[in-house]
Amino acid sequence: MALPVVYLGIRASASAEAWLLLTRPQTLQTLGRTLWLGMWVTLLSIGIAVPIAWLTTRTDLPFRRLWSVLTPLPLVVPSYVGAYLFASVLGPRGLLQFILEEPLGITRLPNLYGFPGALLVLTLLNYPFVLLSVRAALERMDPVLEEVSRGLGYNAWSTFWRVVLPQLRPAVTVGSLLVILYVLRDFGAVAIMRYNTLTRVIYTQYTSTFDRSAAAVLSCLLVLVSALILWGELRTRSRAQYASSARSGRVAFRLSLGAWRWPALIFCGGVVFLALVLPAGTLLFWLLRGMAAGEVFPGLWEAGGNSIVASALAALVTIVAALPIAILEVRRPSRLSRVLERISYISFALPGIVVALALVFFGVNFMLPLYQTLAMLVFAYGVLYLPQAVGMLRSSLLQIHPSMEEAGRSLGKRPLEVFRRITLPLLRPGVVMGLALVMLTAMKELPATLILAPIGFKTLSTAVWSSVSEAFFARAAAPALLLILLSSIPLAILELRKDSLPTDRNTR
């Protein structure tokens, strides 16, 4: 885990002009741009995700199930694919301009490139991080608390602000943390939208000058920024206990929206249209166009299989590693467990390319047999996605009251058996959610896969990238679509399984 950081440190300190590079005005400007983008993406993501989570779990919003299946789906769209699709629609000489030009004579659209484009793409692809975590929390939250508030004379609106929202704080925090750290490390979207954040500058440094030291220095800056964000979160985290003690087991009361359901529908529909329908339509357009032109997709199924194998392995390894960390942190809070958890978060802020380079360096020098193997790739995924898994497990674990485990102990069962028979089954939604998340993210990961995949091991993401970078947009469409379909499966399963959980059974 600490390996990439160590590598970074070595590379950075090996460079004589490291300090000079760090204090250049361009560097500080880049840093400012990165943070500015991160802040806005996070705020917009919360603004989109919290209302949707609440609408789909607590109200009679029409087509509720449909929305709750569709709204997390943008998570499966890789940022480089999303950016490319938006650019090909909204950008200069894009599809929209093409459509508008003929009847309306509009020849110029507002410039998409730069901040607006990066903001749009990153928000629409990343708000599901907040959505999933908030929705999971809402589903576990005892609805009686809301009924209590309504009973105390607060209407639905102030109940949401005074009772629901404060309880959602840990979930919103976990989700936001994932979003802002994702923005800090994203490369694909900012590269295509030509917005110079730290990652893009690092990449340019690395590829254009082959100056790994400069890239390492800037990466250190990136790590430092992420560490500061984490430190801030640690300082502000409330000490309140969020374990819901005696669950009433009541099924949530669904608020009737009345006339409000139209704006709510438009909101959900708008988000789904922008984040899903528009990119999917564009993708389909390219696909059909490619087929019409007789383009073939060599090795598509093989790449799909490779993607599944690598990401499923990564998900398993990551969850197994994340479980002890999450348990240690929640059940045996100590300085050590806190530090352990923070370190695993910091790794999330490491750009994939840095982790990959670090592993290449390390592999070549110390573990030659592992170099260019699937194991190395899976390990890289593990390093990259451990924090997601820990965050997911932690917020699930916080909802399981410790007295549940104590009851198991007092009934004569050893800790391990209590864990197997009580904690694990109760944790299952969190584990499944964590597996799904890691698998989804690993499947669309690009830079580390490009660098670490064994020779000839083509995955869907590398297939998309190579086509897009060679401007074969039509050829990229098929693997991109398959990637999107495959990574939708875990989310679909999650949705369907909810019916069979005993806790959701209606008593009547």
């Binding site: 104590e406 102990r409 009934l411 069962k413 109760l426 005993p502 059974r505």
Partner: protein, 352 residues
């Protein structure tokens, strides 16, 4: 039923940071007895249970069950090896298991016919045989309570700990459940410690009552002793609605502002003591121009509870039959007419 060993706590202390939750606490509980541990919230009573159950490790002192040391400076037996059952305040039922699975959780893995029979008779005992296949969220509060109790009793623990088990139930159900639980505890000959902050509950359910405050046990005894002969002012105050009236020890008896009581104390003459008065010790009758008066009346069905103001401004409570009704503001003469010796306190401690 094998004979159960007695529980002994010797000089047990437990601190959380700077807060001393339990201080030099000693306690003995004989087999097949139920001890009610009562005290205001935050007095450390739950910590005592958690120390006995093995969820906390004492900083000093020892806990033993019969010959077996559960915890001292060398030993610490983990909770699963203690054979001590616990009923949690929030019941802590496993939400993913049915009633039957919850109750059977503590049984050894041998799923033989005898275990099956035991489970059945336990479910029948707590009246849940028809609910065996339900999930906890499908049960009422009282039913969940009984599942929690049955689950804790199932492995035949040497000792059962109940941590304010009725605090989540409404008043009617509380009374009903406490009768049921008492019957079940007697039927299974369980040795139990019952933690509560409700005086009535403690007096009803305990063979013995221990009153706790600030991490210490103040007094242990039969329910009647605790109620009638409190050794400390705190106990008197906590266990019954008690008023305290200052009195001076004189040769004639105890001189108060409403007359002299012919009761002798071992305390020297001239000393100021506090006389503990319950509402049935105080009498009054309307009398014009009397300096005392009625402040309020509360109808309690069988009787009235009057709040009286004495000349000094001090308040006393007096209980009368339901036929005597006077409006607030009525001047009254107040006197004390005890059927027994009253308990007096000097510096917070009882003197006789």
């Amino acid at each position: 039923m094998t004979t159960t060993p007695s529980l002994v706590l010797n000089q047990v202390s437990k601190r959380f940071g700077t807060h001393a939750a339990v201080q030099d606490l000693s306690l003995q509980l004989d087999p097949e007895k139920v001890l009610a541990l009562i005290g205001p919230s935050g007095c450390g009573k739950t910590t005592v249970l958690r120390l006995i159950a093995g969820f906390e490790r004492p900083d000093s002192g020892s806990i033993s069950l019969g010959e077996r040391v559960l915890a001292d400076s060398y030993t610490f037996v983990p909770p699963e090896e203690r054979g001590i059952g616990m009923v949690f305040q929030d019941h802590a039922l496993f939400p993913h298991l049915t009633v039957a699975q919850n109750v059977a959780f503590g049984l050894a893995k041998r799923a033989g016919p005898s275990a099956e029979m035991e489970l059945k008779s336990m479910l029948t005992l707590v009246g849940l045989d028809r609910r065996a296949q339900r999930y906890p969220h499908e049960l009422s509060g009282g039913e969940r309570q009984r599942v929690a109790l049955a689950r804790a009793l199932m492995p035949h623990p040497y000792l059962l700990l109940l941590d304010e088990p009725f605090s989540n139930l409404d008043a009617d159900l509380r009374v009903k459940m406490r009768e049921e639980v008492r019957v079940i505890l007697r039927a299974t000959q369980a040795t139990a410690i019952f933690v509560t902050h409700d005086q009535e509950e403690a007096l009803y359910i305990g063979d013995h009552v221990a009153v706790m405050n600030e991490g210490r046990i103040l007094q242990t005894g039969l329910p009647e002793e605790i109620f009638h002969r409190p050794q400390l002012r705190f106990v008197a105050e906590f266990m019954g609605n008690t008023d305290f009236l200052p009195a001076e020890v004189t040769a004639q008896g105890l001189r108060t502002e409403i007359g002299t009581l012919p009761q002798r104390l071992s305390a020297p003459l001239g000393v100021q003591v506090l006389v503990a008065l319950r509402a049935d010790d105080v009498q009054f009758e309307p009398q014009a121009n009397s300096p005392s008066m009625i402040l309020a009346r509360r109808f309690q069905g069988m009787q009235h509870m009057y709040r009286l103001r004495l000349p000094s401004g001090r308040l006393l409570h007096a209980q009368t039959t339901h036929t005597r009704i006077y409006p607030p503001g009525t001047p009254v003469r107040v006197w004390i007419e005890p059927a027994h010796d009253l308990v007096c306190f000097l510096d917070g401690k009882a003197v006789s």
